[in-house]
């Protein structure tokens, strides 16, 4: 066999108090698409950050085409032929799409001026295969998250790199966008590029990768040929135990807790009406941009509605600020955790307590003993790991950050929980925990709304699904009628389906 394109040899990485990687070795051949799997915190991103020159390994070396390379900084890694798509979007919103794609190595005229047109032309070329509607000249900040992720992918394609590392490139993409990405990745592989592909979506990995390496707690558990193994065995390698395949159980009662009538915003949401029952999990599906996030923000008081009416337990309720919503028992677990969810420098306890200060400071001074007790209780409930309540939240994995945010609403006594993409970037283990948590909450009588772009997730969780299209409810599907096809059929705008738009609940 020829020399592998990329080889990790005995890589270890020790952060001041965390051993993120121990003796990681595996290799990826030219033209191979190699999956890298593992739970949150397994060390996947750390490994790729070493590959792209952001971290230096404590021990071990990276070999490219059999030769050890010094990847001392991102520039050196680029020079060595490595391109990387980062898990956290690494972009400058003020610059244009093309400028972002060429950031750090702009095309110039005479070495002095940025060749803007040329950059935009090349950027458009790279984008064409993924999403031709993205204009390379607009400021990146004006794009939606999904489009930004596509830009991030296209940027890696520009480099004509020999190794492309993708760290959860599809966390905000829809299945159809994934299809296009899969084609692009196959084309790269055909050209002899080695691709390392990290994703928590196992179907994707099984769909495009030939082999996969599975990591747990910073060590390689094994490398497998994906044609030879089942999804289930991979999952058990990842989590180190069997994950019970849980069945959906409905806890919905007939008691209407939240009733929305003709809710609309100035921008995206038009005339949304529905009822939410006690103990019910209501799924909201729809294409990116169909207005789901904005609907949840309206309900959470984060944005103001331009018209419409909301009743909670039959009483008209004003939701003009998050405080109103919280007082009414509504809490939002937002889509962009880092930007809208956490206060990074503060501890888990502080982040948890933020929405219910009144509870912890009945006489104006925080009762720290009580805060500690309740934090311990809620965090145990959501199974925070590691169980360090005073540690700044930014040092936790995404899944555990998400658990802390859920704990925030439990502590606030929230009865209506709104989840926006609750498992984005979260591994199978933590995902199962969050699903389980959502079901428990419903069983206890909480009402839950789950917005998700992952149809299996919606189908797994929801008692009932609203399909949104163009800012309004295009269809309501009962559990019995749920299927990916049914949802997709209503989500995609079709001129002939327009007549069916009036289908609404609670009208």
């Amino acid at each position: 066999m020829s020399v592998p394109r990329l080889q990790f040899e005995g890589i270890s990485k020790v952060f001041p108090a965390v051993r993120a990687l121990s003796d990681v070795s595996f290799s990826v051949g030219a033209g191979e698409i190699h999956g890298l799997l593992g739970e949150n915190g397994a060390g996947k991103s750390t490994l790729l950050r070493i590959l792209s020159g952001i971290y230096r390994p404590t021990a071990g070396s990276v070999l490219i085409d059999g030769k050890p390379v010094a990847l001392n900084n991102p520039v050196a890694a680029r020079a060595a032929g490595v391109a990387m798509i980062h898990q956290e979007l690494q972009q400058v919103p003020q610059l244009s799409v093309a400028q972002n794609m060429f950031l750090g190595h702009p095309l110039t005229r005479g070495g002095i001026f940025v060749a803007r047109r040329e950059q935009e032309r090349r950027a458009a070329e790279a984008l064409a295969a993924l999403d031709p509607t993205i204009d390379p000249a607009v400021p990146l900040g004006s794009l939606k998250v999904a489009q930004r992720q596509i830009v991030e992918i296209a940027r890696a394609l520009l480099d004509r790199a020999r190794i492309v590392a993708m760290d959860e490139p599809t966390s905000s993409l829809t299945p159809s966008e994934f299809e296009r990405l899969a084609e692009v990745i196959s084309a790269l592989a055909r050209d002899g590029v080695a691709v390392v592909y990290v994703s928590h979506k196992l179907d994707e990995v099984f769909g495009i990768c030939q082999r996969a390496t599975i990591m747990r707690d910073g060590v390689v558990v094994g490398s497998v040929d994906l044609a030879q193994v089942s999804e289930k065995s991979v999952v058990s390698m990842m989590v180190g135990r069997e994950l019970a395949q849980e069945q959906h159980r409905s806890h919905a009662s007939s008691e209407v807790r939240l009733s929305v009538h003709g809710l609309a915003s100035a921008t995206k949401v038009r005339e949304v009406s529905f009822d939410l029952h006690r103990g019910e999990v209501l799924g909201i599906a729809g294409l990116v941009g169909s207005g789901r996030t904005e609907l949840l923000r309206l309900l959470a008081g984060a944005d103001r509605a331009s018209s419409g009416r909301v009743e909670i337990d039959g009483k008209a309720t004003k939701l003009s600020s998050p405080r109103d919503a919280i007082a009414a028992g509504i809490g939002l677990v937002p889509e962009e955790r880092k930007r809208e969810g956490i206060v990074p420098l503060r501890s888990i306890s502080s982040n948890m307590a933020l929405a219910s200060m009144g509870v912890f400071a009945p006489r104006g001074v925080i009762d720290h003993a009580r805060l500690k007790r309740i934090a311990a209780e809620k965090m145990k409930r959501v199974n925070l790991r590691p169980f360090l309540l005073d540690r700044p939240i930014r040092l936790f994995s995404g899944g555990n950050q998400q658990k802390a945010i859920i704990g925030r609403w439990l502590a606030a006594g929230t009865r209506i929980l709104l989840f926006d993409e609750p498992t984005r970037g979260i591994d199978v283990g933590a995902k199962a925990e969050i699903y389980h948590l959502i079901e428990e909450l419903a069983a206890e009588g909480h009402s839950v709304v789950v917005v998700s772009s992952e149809l299996p997730e919606v189908i797994r969780l929801a008692d009932r699904v609203l399909v949104m299209r163009d800012g309004t409810v295009a269809a309501e599907l009962d559990r019995a009628d749920l299927s990916e096809q049914a949802i997709a059929a209503h989500a995609i705008p079709q001129s002939e389906t327009q007549g069916r738009q009036g289908h609404r609940a609670g009208a």
Binding site: F15, S321, E340, P344, R346, G358, G364, I366, P386, D390
Partner: protein, 325 residues
């Protein structure tokens, strides 16, 4: 980059507490070094009397710097503290001279401070203007109002009774020092023990997340500026008590000293970070330096040089103590 770097400095629980006190410890080490140097160079530097002097001379800056720290934590900055103090001072003073009872005159001064802060806060929180520019604008505006109100003249002849309030001593410590110590204690409690403190840290740390978590963003910011205004007014009362006169030009460049104290003490001008203990230490460092340089009879140009270098040195010591970022 910073972000990445800071991650690597973080550790599990025991180290977490450690880390926090570490930052303040860095400032403390800076102070101890400076004290040691002056102690070695200036005979009688450690005399009780002189140490009390240092505290007294640091007290006004410390008072302002505490308010500044809260504003900085909330992600803002308040350049208008000096003029706010001046406005408060001349109004209290002219009421006192006109024979208004002390409590009323003092309350009026405090009210002025609160109103100045309220205006800053509203422009920042409701109108959404940049704090630096808002308070740069009100810096001129409040100063102009103080000058116009007095015609540029100092207000003299404050009643002895009023002056006694702020000039007294208790347990051998000047009352001004005790007042500021109490203020520091309150600020510490606010920051560590009250919802408002959490809100400040959250608003400065991630405004959008705080908003969704139901934190009253605007009220929190406004309150920070109002506290800063109130403490500027308190500093003004202490000062006019000490000097016996209120000048409309009082408080010139106070903002820079207050910001320096907060920053030396570990406040980050990006918001979300700051320490009451650190700020107090920062103010004492600056006060010690002025005191020591005067006692050494350092010529004015060299005093200026030392001021600059010590600010830089304090930041460097801090950096080293915390490890390379």
């Amino acid at each position: 980059m910073t972000d990445v770097a800071e991650h690597s400095a973080a550790r599990p629980r025991a180290e977490f507490l450690h880390r926090f006190s570490l930052r303040d410890a860095g400032t403390l080490i800076g102070l101890i070094v400076i004290l040691a140097v002056f102690g070695a160079l200036v005979p009688g530097f450690f005399a009780e009397r002189n140490l009390i002097n240092i505290l007294q001379q640091s007290s006004i800056n410390a008072c302002l710097a505490l308010g500044m720290t809260l504003v900085i934590i909330s992600g803002g900055i308040d350049l208008s503290v000096g003029p706010t103090a001046a406005l408060s001072a001349v109004i209290s003073a002219s009421m006192l001279v006109a024979g208004v009872p002390f409590p009323l005159a003092i309350a009026a001064g405090f009210a002025i401070g609160l109103v100045c802060g309220l205006l800053n806060g509203m422009l920042v929180a409701y109108v959404g203007l940049q704090p630096f520019i808002v308070t740069l604008g009100t810096l001129s505006t409040y100063r102009a109002l103080a000058l116009i109100y007095t015609g540029g003249n100092p207000v003299l002849g404050l009643p002895a009774g009023f002056r006694a309030i702020f000039n007294g001593s208790l347990f051998g410590l000047p009352l001004a020092v005790i007042i500021v110590a109490v203020v520091a204690l309150i600020a510490w409690i606010i920051l560590k023990k009250t919802p408002f403190g959490e809100y400040l840290l959250a608003v400065g740390g991630n405004e959008e997340a705080a908003h969704i978590a139901g934190v009253p963003i605007a009220r929190t910011k406004i309150a920070a500026y109002m506290i800063s205004g109130l403490l500027a007014a308190l500093a003004a009362q202490i000062l006019i008590g000490r000097l016996g006169a209120a000048e409309p030009i009082l408080g010139n460049l106070w903002e820079l000293d207050a910001i320096a104290a907060a920053a030396i003490g570990g406040a980050s001008l990006m918001g979300g970070k700051g320490s009451v203990v650190g700020t107090i230490l920062g103010a004492v460092i600056l006060g010690t330096m002025r005191n020591g340089l005067t006692l050494m009879n350092v010529q004015s140009f060299y005093q200026l040089l030392a001021t600059g270098l010590i600010i830089l040195a304090a930041m460097l010591i801090d950096r080293v103590t915390r490890g390379r970022g």
